[in-house]
């Protein structure tokens, strides 16, 4: 807040990009997202202070929305880590740090045991002939091949161990399946192969789940909730139902509770909460109308009220004022300013510098995917790089004043830099 009521938590923080904050709620480190050769986001380090309003500004194509998508899990970065509230969002569980020798032995053993056990059972089950040696050799060759393939991948040997063990499990299942279902013993090989595939698939799926990034909805459940640049309201649901959808941990959203109608009391509480928020956001009159009948500005209000229904810790607003008329802008701004009072953190993308100056405590400036400046709005507004990036480097000079050779050099330099970046990316 711009008032001087309490001590500013960001006082004394240096005005340089990537500066550490006293109490960061979000820490992004080395986040890189490129589409082919085009680098959309390349954030070396950014910390977002808890309980204040941070504005993310920058010219069109600066990567603000992409960065938003990366933070909230709606897009995935090629590199980097994100920490929210001390929790890493890029892997659900830490991969155990095994040393090279240990992981090689365990990985190779796991896969060997898996495949050879599978091959052995397969050989025993197939009583047509005695091809056990063939199966064992096949199992061995496949295991070594898979091992060589994943050896140098991150977490590769461990995942191989998981794959091997789950293949063994899958083969056991396959045998059971084979004995139970196969019309004749001719079918054993086929059902067994199905067991291998299912077991291996489940194993890899489980591993990817356990070590992969948290999906967007889980990040939202943790309390980081976003809105969209193109407002998303559910047009064919009533305004009230749009609000109710935001409530977390609803009993009635589980199949059996829904069927046996054990959600009615909780629904009443949710409705009461929704009504309070609708009142605050001046939408009570539209309560029972389809959300599709709302105006653009009202939709922005509804989307934001829906986000508040989730009891968020961090509210991420992507251009909340875009397309909203001035009267509504003022009421939207008031809602945003109120949020930090109860400890909520706000991050928002905005183009209108007046809005940014009015409500933000801290401003982060992006250009060409990088963070080029950070600081309080009063300082950022004066920053030459910000003015350059927003208005163009030579906005206050007339064409005649410009030195053409100097300008050409500048452009060349820019192009070189871009090429280098593209090459770096391709090298990876």
């Amino acid at each position: 807040m711009t008032t001087e009521a309490v001590a500013d938590p960001l006082e004394g923080v240096a005005h340089v990009p990537g500066v550490p904050k006293p109490d960061p709620v979000i820490i992004a480190d080395g986040v890189l997202r490129h589409f082919g050769g085009l680098i959309a986001v390349d954030v070396e380090h950014l910390e977002i202070q808890r309980g204040v309003i941070t504005a993310l500004i920058g010219p069109n194509g600066a990567g603000k929305t992409t960065f938003f998508n990366l933070l909230t899990g709606f897009d995935h970065a090629q590199a980097g880590t994100r920490v929210y509230n001390g929790r890493e969002l890029d892997r659900r569980y830490e991969i155990p740090q095994w040393d090279q020798a240990k992981s090689t032995v365990i990985g190779l053993l796991g896969s060997l045991i898996g495949f050879m056990l599978g091959a052995f059972i397969l050989a025993r089950a197939d009583d047509q002939s005695d091809p056990s040696l063939t199966y064992l050799v096949t199992g061995f060759v496949v295991a070594v091949g898979v091992f060589l393939y994943v050896r140098n991948k991150p977490g590769g040997p461990q995942s191989l161990a998981v794959y091997g063990t789950s293949t063994a499990l899958g083969t056991a299942l396959g045998t059971l399946f084979a004995v139970l279902v196969s019309p004749t013993s001719n079918w054993f090989s086929t059902t067994m192969a199905v067991g291998w595939l299912i077991g291996g698939g489940l194993g890899i799926g489980f591993w990817r789940w356990a070590t992969g990034p948290l999906p967007s909805y889980e990040i939202a459940q943790l309390g980081m909730v976003r809105t969209f640049q193109l407002t998303k309201v559910l047009a064919r649901l009533t305004v009230l139902n749009n609000m109710r959808l935001g409530a977390q941990n609803q009993r009635g959203e589980r199949f059996l509770s829904a069927l046996f109608q054990t959600w009615k009391t909780q629904e009443k509480e949710i409705t009461a909460k929704a009504d309070v928020l609708l009142d605050r956001f001046l939408l009570s009159k539209m309560r029972d109308e389809f959300a599709g009948t709302l105006s653009g500005g009202q939709r922005k209000l509804l989307e934001m009220a829906g986000v508040l229904m989730t009891d968020p810790e961090v509210v991420m607003l992507d251009e909340p004022m875009a397309g909203v008329n001035p009267a509504l802008t003022q009421s939207l701004l008031e809602h945003v300013i109120e949020l930090p009072a109860d400890g909520t953190t706000v991050v928002f993308v905005e183009h209108n510098m007046d809005v940014v100056r009015e409500i933000s405590d801290w401003v982060v400036m992006m250009a060409e995917g990088r963070i080029i400046a950070e600081g309080p709005p009063s300082v950022i507004g004066q920053d030459q790089r910000v003015i350059d990036a927003y208005l163009g480097a030579h906005h206050d000079e007339t064409l005649e004043e410009l030195d053409k050779t100097e300008l050409a050099e500048e452009v060349d330099q820019d192009l070189d830099e871009q090429e280098e970046m593209a090459e770096e990316v391709e090298d990876e």
Partner: protein, 338 residues
């Protein structure tokens, strides 16, 4: 032409077994498409897997028919998982492609020569339904006439009645579910998945649940069809059937609880009506006002196709004049998505 017979036949068709199992499969499809927005073009595959589940359980494994029905339901769940797990993370079209292919794969595998002992090949499976009819209170050899409705045997009356009871139960279940918060999430997913994810709900998990629920209803429908005809014929489960179920659902109204039920009654009544009106025209020297003989332009064997053309034309008119179906809400449909 005997109009009272024609009307009576049409009314009978509206409540016959075909209409009943179509209604059940249509309710499932409505859960998929009408509420969740899933494009399932292989509902007949779920019906087939249900039918084969019960048929194979009884004839090949020699199990009790009730266990067989449980197996059929379980197989429908497995099929839904198999189709849904890999595709529901992707765009909606992938599910459409996979379901239409899977339905054909099931039919072709079941009718393959290699599996003749198991699923009966192209002859299908017979003789598994007697246990079901032991419960019938009606006489198997008698025919029944109830008002305008006619049932050729007590068995047919019994299985039809049971299927309609199942339809009513399914309607009740879907009604309860769709007005609950669970249904609210499904309807929201149909509108905008990302908005649902942004509010902390796993769209993937809900889509999977919806696919399973609708698939199981499709499986039960196929089961009742198989029991009612006392046979599982692979070629009863051809792709066009899926689209007839779609047509029935659209006639009634997509996303409305009673839509598929009324839709399939109308669909089958229309087919019967057109058939019974066209047939005497084609066979006898029947002319309109003595100036035009119908048998000069069509023969009896063509009637099957012509009635579908007429029903298709009717659907076309419906789409032009009442795109929301009979039960739909035009205002709701007119809302834009942005």
């Amino acid at each position: 032409m005997n109009w009272s017979d024609i009307i009576s036949n049409a009314l009978t068709a509206a409540v016959a077994l075909n209409a009943a199992w179509f209604a059940l499969a249509g309710i499932g499809l409505n859960v998929h498409f009408g509420y969740t927005g899933l494009l399932n073009f292989g509902q007949i595959g779920f019906a087939a897997i249900g039918a084969y589940g019960v048929g194979v359980s009884v004839t090949y494994f020699g199990w009790n028919i009730w266990i067989g029905m449980l197996v059929g339901i379980l197989m429908a769940v497995v099929l839904a998982l198999l189709l849904g797990l890999p595709t529901l993370r992707l765009r909606a079209d992938y599910l459409a492609i996979v379901t239409i292919a899977a339905a054909e794969i099931i039919r072709l595998v079941a009718r393959s020569v290699a599996l003749r002992n198991f699923s009966g090949g192209s002859n299908g499976i017979n003789g598994f339904s007697s246990q079901f009819y032991e419960l019938s209170p009606f006489s198997a050899s008698e025919s029944y006439k109830i008002g305008p409705f006619f049932f050729s045997s007590g068995r047919l009356l019994f299985v039809t009645a049971v299927t309609w009871v199942l339809v009513v139960l399914a309607v009740g279940m879907v009604w309860l579910l769709m007005r609950s918060p669970w249904g609210r999430v499904l309807r929201s997913i149909k509108e905008d998945e990302d908005a649902v994810r942004a509010l902390g709900k796993s769209a993937y998990s809900y889509k999977l649940q919806s696919l399973i629920l609708g698939g199981v209803l499709g499986g039960i429908a196929g089961m009742m069809f198989a029991i009612g005809t006392a046979t599982v014929q692979p070629d009863n489960f051809q792709p066009p059937q899926t689209f007839f179920i779609w047509a029935a659902m659209i006639i009634g109204g997509v996303g409305k609880v009673w839509g598929p039920v009324v839709g399939s009654m109308i669909f089958w009544a229309l087919l019967s009506l057109t058939e019974n009106i066209l047939r005497p025209m084609a066979s006898a020297n029947y002319s309109v006002f003595g100036i035009f003989d119908f048998n000069t332009i069509m023969e009896g064997v063509q009637i099957g196709q012509i009635r579908f053309m007429l029903v298709g034309f009717g659907l076309l008119l419906l789409m032009v004049f009442r795109p929301q179906g009979l039960f739909g809400d035009k205002n709701e449909m007119a809302l834009d998505d942005n």
